[in-house]
């Protein structure tokens, strides 16, 4: 295992020489004692499960493309991927910030409970699926069925949204600047309120995404699927 001794509070791991397990064990158990305030991860080479289960106020920079579940179940940490990621980045995030400088594959921020996830590029399908309170900001576009069954939190799409956006939404809110290919069952477009605009502006500033909140459309649940009804309309069969 190779670690480079902290210099100015920065500790570097080279994954060409260190295993994912050693990296995560260090982040879970030795980070606080090390005194490092920043961790640099080199040569991720698309490996999965990097920096998962963190629970410390540390900045982690992953220099390159990474695989599935990066920063999964994150608490407190600020994780930045200087590249693109595979499926389910920041899945079930609880707090902290996870930022992807490139693109994200499917299911970004799936079931995220809190914190902020920023995808500066595009995100593939099911972005923000099952969201439970986290904020997700995508600089580009998102794929189909994004925010599926999202319960709480916000999904912000600065580009376009694919088909079936917000299908079976609960109380999460979606903001889209570009074109919406189609809305999913029970999702509807609503007028932006002043509160929407001011809160969205704050979120965009926090995400460091240069857009104006006034350009966005709001999508929320029509709440027609909250109870089973008799005499179902065909929409409910889908």
């Amino acid at each position: 295992m190779e670690r480079i001794t902290p210099a100015g509070g920065v500790l570097t791991f080279d994954l060409a020489r260190t295993s994912v397990r050693e990296l995560n064990q260090f982040l879970h158990h030795e980070l606080r004692q090390s005194g490092a305030r920043r961790v640099e991860i080199l040569n991720p080479r698309g490996q999965h499960n990097l920096a998962v289960g963190l629970d410390a106020p540390v900045q982690v920079d992953i220099r390159g493309h990474a695989g599935y579940f990066i920063a999964g179940m994150n608490k407190q940490a600020q994780v930045t991927v200087h590249g693109s990621v595979g499926w389910s980045v920041a899945e079930n995030i609880m707090s902290g910030v996870v930022r992807v400088r490139g693109n994200a594959s499917e299911c970004a921020a799936a079931s995220g409970h809190g914190g902020l996830v920023v995808i500066e590029g595009n995100a593939s399908s099911r972005c923000g699926i099952s969201l439970k309170g986290a904020d997700v900001v995508v600089g580009g576009s998102v794929g189909h069925v994004s925010a599926f069954m999202a319960q709480a939190g916000r999904l912000v799409v600065c580009g376009d949204a694919g088909a079936g956006l917000g299908d079976s939404l609960y109380e999460a809110v979606i903001y889209v600047r570009g074109k919406i290919h189609s809305l999913g069952a029970d999702a509807r477009e609503e007028a932006m309120t002043e509160a929407d605009v001011s809160q969205l502006d704050e979120l965009l500033v926090a995400a460091q995404i240069d857009c104006s909140a006034g350009e966005f459309k709001r999508v929320a649940s029509a709440r027609t699927l909250y109870h089973w009804h008799s005499d179902l309309s065909p929409m409910h069969y889908s």
Binding site: H48, Y68, G72, M73, S88, E91, C107, A110, S130, E171
Partner: protein
């Protein structure tokens, strides 16, 4: 007067059609399949006589210790008995019920399991060994509780509704349940049927590794599936890295799902168990990957037969609820038995027939979130009853094992079993009693 009843459109079919026409909505109910199916009752044990020596029933030891999750985990689950408690959610069950279950499981040295909705502090505190479920809904799922778990169970499906998601009707979404699940109170909650962050066995392998990384490879990871395409499903789960495979047959219960699922999807526990064992044998992983079977297990005889067929342990759900008092005609308050028959009648049912868990109006206070109804089950009384039941199962199990000449219940084997019916013989791949004929072999 002609009273010739149609086989096709009999009274059940008529009632179904007319109910559907009146309501415009499928029937939702609790518990498991009620149709007649081949079960462990259709097998018998060949206890000892001259060709096998029995052990003395009350004096010679018969071990029941059970270890699960030996494949990868640093801390496998060690249980005193091979009878575990299946996942049942807080939400479906009251907090009193969950506490009673935790206390009883702890007292007899076995594990209990969370459910859809997350882990409650009462449950963690009352349960020495607690299995934390990771379900498609991810309600209440968080890394702090994950790290408190003694094992993790990735739930892909359950026997009552393989291929379907969970369901909890609005009357059971109390403010506490709603908060735990991040849902508006009072809505009819539908859980997802697929996990939100992975799809298929290749992804599952990475997901399992993620959970191992987060928990530092300490605890076992179970994969639970409803019994459908069991042979392939078990192989894929094992290939994906599962330490323990849990197979839930179609007699497995639920707190609420569509009747059409309960009665028409999946395969019986007997057939599922045989297929799962064969899959592990084919992969040469018997003993390395443990197998838990569930779905309609009721008695110590059921447990003995399941172990003889190749299970390492069983999991109980409905049996646990019935031990707590489900479908009894009374409940106990202040040491007095109080008749609950009227409450069953108000639900349109009677003791012995109730499957109205979905209504939240459980007459004996088990499957409810109503604060008044919940008081009908005192945790300490429920724990006593369940502890007794689990002890009886264990006594029956060891009685049969000793009679088969086994000093350890895990030494029961297929050779100790024969089938009483052709159907059971075919499903279990055991000889029909008195013959050497194994249908389909």
């Amino acid at each position: 007067m002609s009273l010739e009843e149609s086989y096709t459109f009999n009274r059940h079919a008529l009632a179904y059609i007319q109910h559907a026409a009146e309501q415009g909505l499928y029937e939702i109910r609790g518990l498991g399949a009620k149709r007649s199916l081949p079960t462990f009752d259709d097998l018998v044990l060949l206890t000892a006589s001259l060709s096998r020596y029995p052990l003395e029933g009350y004096r010679e030891r018969c071990l029941t210790k059970t270890v699960l999750g030996t494949r990868h985990a640093k801390k496998p689950v060690e249980l005193e008995i091979p009878v575990t408690i299946a996942g049942m959610s807080f939400g479906a069950l009251s907090a009193h019920s969950k506490e009673a279950i935790g206390r009883a499981a702890t007292a007899v040295g076995t594990s209990t399991t969370t459910g859809d909705g997350g882990m409650t502090p009462e449950e963690r505190q009352s349960s020495k060994t607690l299995v934390y479920q990771c379900l498609p809904s991810r309600y209440g799922f968080n890394p702090d509780d994950l790290r408190q778990a003694d094992a993790i169970e990735l739930v892909i499906g359950q026997g009552a509704k393989p291929g379907g998601g969970g369901m909890l009707l609005g009357q059971k979404i109390s403010p506490r349940v709603a908060e735990m699940r991040t849902l508006p109170p009072g809505i009819d909650q539908r859980s997802a049927c697929r996990h939100p962050d992975w799809t298929g066995p290749d992804d599952l392998a990475i997901k399992i590794l993620e959970l191992r990384e987060i928990t530092d490879w300490q605890v076992p990871i179970y994969v639970k599936m409803g019994a459908a395409r069991v042979a392939n499903d078990v192989k894929l789960a094992v290939k994906s890295g599962a330490d323990v495979v849990v197979i839930d047959g179609m007699q497995g219960g639920t707190a609420a799902t569509q009747q059409v699922f309960i009665e028409h999807a999946g395969i019986p526990t007997l057939a599922a168990l045989r297929l799962a064992v064969e899959a592990l044998e084919e992969m040469k992983l018997v003993g390395e990957v443990q197998l838990i079977i569930s779905g309609g297990i009721r008695t110590g005889a059921d447990v003995a037969k399941a172990l003889a067929m190749g299970a390492d342990a069983v999991a109980l759900g409905q049996g646990v609820l019935m031990a707590l008092g489900c479908n009894a005609d009374y409940y106990v308050q202040d040491d007095r038995r109080i008749d609950a028959t009227g409450d069953y009648h108000r639900l349109g049912t009677a003791p012995g027939f109730c499957h109205h868990c979905h209504t939240g109006q459980c007459p004996v206070g088990i499957t409810t979130q109503d604060p008044l109804l919940e008081t009908r089950l005192a945790p300490e009384d429920g724990a006593r009853r369940l502890r007794n039941y689990l002890n009886v199962l264990t006594l029956e199990l060891t009685t049969l094992a000793r009679a088969c000449g086994k000093s350890n219940v895990h030494h029961l084997e297929r050779e100790d079993l024969v089938a009483l019916t052709v159907e059971a013989a075919a499903m279990a791949k055991l000889p029909l009693a008195g013959t050497d004929w194994v249908p389909g072999a």
